[in-house]
């Protein structure tokens, strides 16, 4: 009985070229970086073809992982000249959570130049906080990855090394809120319960065909995965096939519960893990808040619609 033998996937048995974070070229020393982000409204087509009115930070000169309209990769000590242009209909700010990097409120139509020094190596979420809960709920957030000053492929200088790294930026939407904001209506955020979920702006199965979001790896490698919560709910991320080493939570080293298959990524948290690739195969990484793997309650394709990322080696 070898039923198992015929279950192959096109993802299996294939060696992957070194890839990894594709946001920006790797540098060996700190530099001055000019970045512009435009806060704006956009129509986002979801995996089930529904369209949501969302807010986003758009980088006119680049993009983030997946289909995120922005994302930053910096080197510790970089001098960043950041221009924020507010094209929304209400004041916003730009905040890097867990740091003192923040603009004052920027009025509609205004722009603001913020100069800051890239903080310690690690994973950060930037977002608007001027609109409270609604900023992230509407999508006004993005990933900021700071690499160590020595240019090494480590999570921080002297920290664990990796062969490749991926950014998994998690967001959620409640289409009733998006509709209320689009139509100038009101919405009680206590009722917020999302029905769309994205990784790097994508939902499964589109997560499989995106080079930044399909976690392609080879047996024997150590793969850094940055689990970044840019949304408004908890994300208990479960790895099939592997336990991972939890390295840091909000840039603070984790020493107490370190060897895990399910990792809670709380609201506003970034959890950096290293996955030792101990076996080959195609395995999902998904939220165990299982409603989060659907799109508006439905599986498309037919298995999925939300926060499922495939690991392939």
């Amino acid at each position: 009985m070898n039923r198992r033998d015929f279950i192959k996937t096109s993802l299996g048995a294939m060696a992957f070229m070194a890839s990894g974070l594709t946001l920006a070229p790797k540098r060996a020393s700190a530099a001055t970086v000019d970045i512009t982000l435009i806060a704006e409204g956009a129509q986002k087509t979801m995996v089930d073809e529904n369209t949501l009115y969302v807010w986003q930070f758009t980088d006119p000169n680049g993009k983030g992982p997946g289909v995120l309209p922005s994302g930053m990769v910096l080197l510790e000590g970089d001098t960043v000249n950041l221009t924020i242009q507010n094209n929304l209909d209400r004041p916003i700010n730009f905040t890097v959570e867990g740091t003192s990097i923040q603009t004052p409120n920027i009025n509609p139509g205004d722009s603001y130049l913020l100069t800051f020094t890239a903080p310690a190596a690690g994973s950060y979420v930037y977002c608007d906080t001027a609109n409270g809960f609604i900023g992230k709920a509407m999508g006004l957030a993005g990933p900021m990855v700071v690499m160590p000053a020595d240019g090494s492929s480590t999570l921080y200088q002297g920290g664990p090394a990796f062969d490749r790294q991926y950014t998994i930026f998690l967001q959620d939407y409640d289409d009733r809120l998006n509709a209320a904001i689009a139509n100038g209506g009101t919405y009680n955020i206590d009722d917020y319960l999302p029905n769309y979920y994205t990784v790097n702006g994508l939902s499964y199965p589109d997560t499989k065909s995106d080079g930044d979001t399909l976690i392609a790896m080879n047996v024997g490698e150590n793969v850094a995965i940055r689990l970044m919560n840019g949304g408004t709910i908890i994300y208990p991320m479960h790895f099939h096939g592997y336990h991972v080493n939890v390295i840091s939570r909000n840039r603070t080293p984790v020493t107490d519960v370190i060897d895990k298959d399910t990792i809670n990524v709380g609201v506003g948290e970034c959890v950096d893990v290293i996955l030792p690739v101990i076996q080959a195969g195609a395995y999902p990484l998904h939220t165990h808040y299982v409603p989060g793997v659907t799109a508006n309650g439905v599986y498309v394709n037919p298995y999925g619609g939300g926060l499922i990322v495939m690991l392939a080696s």
């Binding site: 039923r3 208990p236 099939h240 336990h243 895990k260 298959d261 165990h288 599986y299 298995y303």
Partner: protein
């Protein structure tokens, strides 16, 4: 197909366990879609579950399955309808991972049911085979139309016993215990229990009942698998298996306890706590030393998914004998 036991003959509560179990190592379960549980307010809801095939199955969650570290385990699932067993945390090979798209499913293709169109049917039975890894607490669950099947209670607990065969230590060389509980957390949104397939009826999840081991409310006080009782000074192991969709905080009525393992791996150092946050899919093993006397109220607070407010609490007793 692997060997299998007959009709639940191995199911017993023995030793220091407070629960029935199947095994060791060779287990057969059947996917059942005709279960029901009675909630404390008199409401009855339909459940789907993994039955061990004898009368007296608890119809919420499958049996506790025990396997022995280092042994080859064989769990055979019989099902006519599409279902699978995902061996959550056991890091098995792809063929035994129980995900329909990558590992196939058990059962006949059933149209829209199960949302497995285009995936491989393994037939009406399949033996999931794996080498039991590190001793500890694991989960198993169906991965077909997971959002619905999981909430309908197609899940259970797997205990990997240490290679030595000890039934009173969590892992060889690890801490020992005098009595053992499995607390499987879960909630019920009754409106989901009338669905056959995910869709318009499963867009949002609003649980109304807050359970441990399939019971809620006042029933938690007299369920022998939940309510903790042991003599003063004894060490009680509670294996916490988070199979709800809500973040939860577990407290032992103000008593401190030691967290010794999570997700089937010992912690580098035990953590002494009076409250423990546990997210969906996680497992934690905690040790409680029974105090000198008295009765305490242990609680599981279930939170909304923003992690802000308690939306329901399961309360049971800790009684010093």
């Amino acid at each position: 197909m692997g060997r299998r036991n007959n009709g639940g003959g191995t199911t017993t509560t023995s030793g220091v366990r407070t629960f029935a179990f199947e095994g060791p190592d060779i287990v057969t379960v059947r996917a059942r879609m005709d279960g029901s549980i009675n909630l404390s307010d008199g409401t009855s809801v339909r459940t789907w579950y993994f039955g061990s095939g004898f009368n007296g199955d608890r119809q919420w969650g499958g049996p506790v399955i025990e396997v022995t570290e280092g042994n080859i385990a064989e769990i055979t699932l019989f099902s006519g309808m599409p279902h699978t067993i995902h061996l959550h945390g056991l890091d098995v090979d792809q063929a035994n991972d129980g995900v329909p798209s990558t590992s196939g499913y058990v059962g006949r293709p059933m149209g829209n049911f199960g949302r497995v169109d285009g995936y491989t049917s393994l037939g009406t039975s399949y033996t999931y085979t794996f080498k039991a890894p590190h001793a500890g607490t694991y989960q198993y669950h169906c991965h077909v139309d997971t959002v619905l099947h999981y909430e309908m209670s197609m899940f259970g607990t797997i205990i990997v016993r240490p290679a030595s065969g000890s039934l009173t230590t969590i892992w060889d060389g690890g801490p020992s215990f005098d009595k053992e509980y499995v607390w499987q957390l879960g909630t019920v949104d009754p409106s989901w229990h009338t669905q056959r397939v995910s869709g318009a009826g499963t867009v949002r999840y609003n649980p109304k009942y807050f359970l441990i081991n399939g019971v809620d409310g006042s029933n938690l006080f007299n369920d022998s698998t939940v309510a903790i009782s042991a003599p003063a000074g004894q060490t009680v192991l509670i294996r916490l298996n988070q199979t709800s969709y809500q973040p939860a905080v577990v407290k032992m009525g103000g008593l401190s306890f030691d967290v010794v393992a999570s997700d089937g791996r010992p912690l580098p150092q035990p953590l002494t706590k009076t409250s423990l946050y546990i997210s969906p899919g996680e497992r934690y093993d905690i040790l409680l030393t029974m105090p000198a006397s008295g009765t305490y109220y242990a609680t599981v607070d279930y939170y909304d998914i923003k992690g802000r407010n308690v939306i329901g609490t399961a309360v049971t007793t800790i009684t010093v004998l």
